[in-house]
Amino acid sequence: MKMSAKRVFCIAVCLVASASSPAIAESLKSVDEFDNVKDEKARSVAMFEEVGKVLQHPRCLNCHPVGNQPLQGEDMVLHNPPVQRGPGNFGVAGMECNTCHQAMNVKVTGQSEDVKSIPGHPKWHLAPPEMAWVGKSLGEICLQLKDKERNGNKTMPEMIHHMAEDTLVGWGWEPGDGREPAPGTQAAFGKLFKAWVDTGAHCPKV
């Protein structure tokens, strides 16, 4: 089995590492703040770079991993317990995501100061393998988002809706005690994403 003395040691270490103190969320620039970029392509790229502050935040990347194990914490360590993706991205038989994760964030009590809550959402699961973002440049992620084979077969209007309205995406801004939220708000993020699409959806260099 994978379990070992190392695992037991890792529980203490990983828990400490996985829940750093919450910080004030970095803000996102509004669409208006890009008006001074006159060239539309350059403006589109600049807005995507702002969007990237969210996409490459640990709240998003941790569940867009390369491979079959989620990450956790601000430092994006391997999830502990070492759970597996499973055939439908909801975990494996007997150890599903919702074995531990509830439909909402759950505060925990009687723990060390840096362990505040267990994250949760009704649809808590991993992004599918083709949506892996960890380790990729923002330019690569940008191309991925526009590729229907790697974005869940979504049109760009559907992508705008997903980013602006999906409640699992929205969890990134309401991640529960002990976790830093993604920058800005989902509404601001959605507007930026839409403005990026409306300006041609140009990508940063890969």
């Binding site: 089995m1 379990m3 529980i11 828990l15 759970v83 074995t99 439909a103 759950v106």
Partner: protein, 154 residues
Amino acid sequence: MLSFTLNGEKTTFDGDPDTPLLWVIRDANHLTGTKYGCGIAQCGACTVHVNGMSKRACVTPISTCEGSQITTIESVDGREAKAVQAAWKSLDVPQCGYCQSGQIMSAVALLKQKPSPSDEDIDNAMDGNICRCATYQRIRKAIHDAAKEMEASA
């Protein structure tokens, strides 16, 4: 007032709805087979079944259990449970025993979904159940033995 079924009996709870299911089981209903290990779903000692699926009771608010069927180690039953209990006894799996009710609940939940699990299936399903006595090899063998027994008696 929350109501649910605990080990086949209609049960209610009128305390704080944020109370973890584990404490409703242990303190309010005096069923102490389900153990507290870590309190943050890292060890698996508190594993029970909610509507037949594995659940870590320490991080499950009782408010989420309204109308649910909750099963603990005290009453887990059925062909998978019987096969697991027999295999556990036969191989003398437990050492100190503290984690074993959680191990058994996870093993039963696995076998309900995968009656003939591979080593990988077992490792993946059981990797959230930690054993400080490191009885992992016996646990894995017992799950295989239980699967064989289920197949033989089918």
